[in-house]
């Protein structure tokens, strides 16, 4: 018997299939039993997403353009950047992609909010204990290297198609950078400054909110920036499970070979990405510049 020397000793097909089947069956039972309960737990998020989308779709277009430019200016204090943002949104509107862009904006916004709400506490926990850090790091590594589509399978099995599974998939994919950079940012805070906070009698919380988080903010913003970028890159894939927005037309364009449609919508995604990127980055740089020469 020298077979195993030449051929890799594989489980025979029947066993392998049985293994797959039993895992699938277990997960299916799980999702049949708990799917509805879990789904209803996400109702508040769905509500938030729908409301926000409704506002973006129903407010007059110029109010939204001005609001976005205003947010952009207050974060970055850069006039040219803010004007650029106005122009980008006007072009998007003229090319007939306003509605899809608003839908995408809504899901990115809500996904980012959730990612921040989950990511910053986890990052803080990681920064406070080395055990937590060594436990989380491999998980985050797997989350970031696992092919995106793999996330979609269990989410879809649990929730079916629609907004919620889309949102969850986007959040899972996009959350690691906030976690990592919150952790990093807090760990990088100058020890002597922390000692000063202790020496003046700041407790754990005052030190966290008064010193550690503010000083980690430039790094946290870099994490938020990456999170938004990753959320945007999920948009097309999320459209495969029924999330409306700029991803849908791109997907249609791929299956039907509509080159121009794909190009325009792709460009709109890029435009959004640039806007988010510049705004969050220059906000981060601005607070950084205030503190260091």
């Amino acid at each position: 018997m020298t077979d195993w020397v030449l051929n890799f000793p594989t489980l025979d097909i029947a066993t392998l299939r049985a293994v797959h089947k039993s895992i699938d069956a277990a997960y299916k039972t799980f999702s049949r039993n708990y799917g509805d309960a879990i789904e209803s737990a996400f109702d508040p998020l769905l509500w938030l997403l729908i409301k926000f989308e409704w506002i973006l779709l129903n407010a007059p277009w110029w109010v939204i353009v001005l609001a976005i430019a205003g947010i952009c200016y207050s974060a970055s204090r850069r006039v040219r950047l803010s004007l650029g943002v106005i122009v980008a949104f006007l072009i998007i509107g003229v090319l007939g992609m306003w509605e899809d862009t608003m839908r995408t904006l809504a899901i990115i916004f809500v996904a980012t909010l959730i990612a921040i709400a989950i990511g910053i506490p986890l990052g803080i926990a990681m920064s406070r204990s080395d055990r937590m850090q060594s436990f989380m790091t491999p998980i985050l590594d797997v989350m970031q290297t696992m092919p995106i589509f793999v996330y979609l399978i269990p989410v879809v099995m649990l929730f079916g198609l629609g907004k919620i599974p889309g949102l969850i998939a986007v959040v899972i994919y996009a959350v690691p950078p906030v976690i990592r950079l919150t952790n990093l940012g807090i760990r990088l805070v100058d020890q002597e400054v922390l000692e000063a906070a202790d020496a003046f009698g700041a407790g754990t919380w005052r030190r966290l909110f008064g010193v550690q988080l503010p000083l980690a903010l430039p790094n946290i913003m870099a994490g938020v920036n990456q999170t938004i970028m990753m959320a945007l890159s999920m948009v097309v894939i999320a459209s495969m499970i029924g999330v409306k927005g700029l991803g849908m037309p791109v997907l249609q364009a791929v299956t039907n070979q509509y080159f121009a449609l794909g190009l325009f919508n792709g460009a709109a995604v890029v435009g959004l990405a640039i806007v988010f990127d510049r705004v969050t980055q220059s906000y981060g740089r601005r607070i950084q510049a205030q503190r260091q020469s």
Binding site: E192, F200, G201, G203, Q292
Partner: protein, 360 residues
Amino acid sequence: MTAQTQEGIHVGHLYKVFGADPASVMPLVHEGIGKQELLEDHGHVLGLRDINLDVSPRSIQVVMGLSGSGKSTLVRHINRLIDPTEGEIRVDGEDMLALDAAALKQLRRYKISMVFQRFALFPHRTVMDNIGYGLALQGLAKRDRGERAARWIERVGLQGYENSYPHHLSGGMQQRVGLARALATDADILLMDEAFSALDPLIRSDMRVLLLDLQHELHKTIVFVTHDLEEAIEIGDRIAILRDGEVVQNGDSQDIVLRPAASYIADFTKSINRGRVIRVGSIMEPLRPDLLGPDCPHDISIEEALPIAVASPGGEARVLNGEGEPVGAVSLGTLVRALGNDRERDRAAAGNAGQAAEAG
């Protein structure tokens, strides 16, 4: 000892060992194992060994020593930024080691404040908010905080910089903020860990003047860490010299310069300007009834006494105590001899000290 009711800071038989399991090596430390041996054979760092130090209220105690001698470790025990492995720490009679977290916080907010070597200002707060930090922790309303901070800003000479961020200021100005931040809380005790070491010599001497000025008004109990003997002598009422985590000598500047307890300290004092440091009261000889004048106060330096002695016919002067009574005499010979860097004398002094320590 009467430490329980005593004002000021009392440190008794304090030991600090850094490492994974300090308790396990404490027997060795008590047997007197060397710092090097403890590190190489047992993987623990000896931070402090059997420190006994009493700081009287409203005085400046300097802690001096070379890098790694344990100065920072020692001051950080006083507000318990570091916990001891063994020993006793009392502040105004209160057992610091018995305090729970909440009481410790209160103590740090109201009673002990600290100035740091690299300033340790909060880079995201303005000068005003940095100085008000301790006040915010005390729970003062923003307006009162602002008023008090403004007073301190003025007192340390930083008017006009209220709304600047620390990085806009020079090192000296940053440390003025650090000092004002520490003083603003009205704490009785001020810990200063090499507070002026990072500054240029000129700025440094400005800061010393500022500190002594403030001390003249405020009468804090100050523990001042430095590795600079001149600074120690200028500032300290008493100077404790640390070496490898042990106090080698604790005395006033005259003790340190005239009676160094070890050659290690004599090495420190070699480069000092003795004429300015040594006071005639510390080197005077017994008074002879036939000597009638001229007079000089006991607390002037050799430099100041020399012209007086030179001007007198016999080359001698009487030394008066604080009440103006003559208590001793100095001759030109005494004054000049005290100026010299006499190695033999230093060695003898160190030898005597050693014998005295063994005998006692």
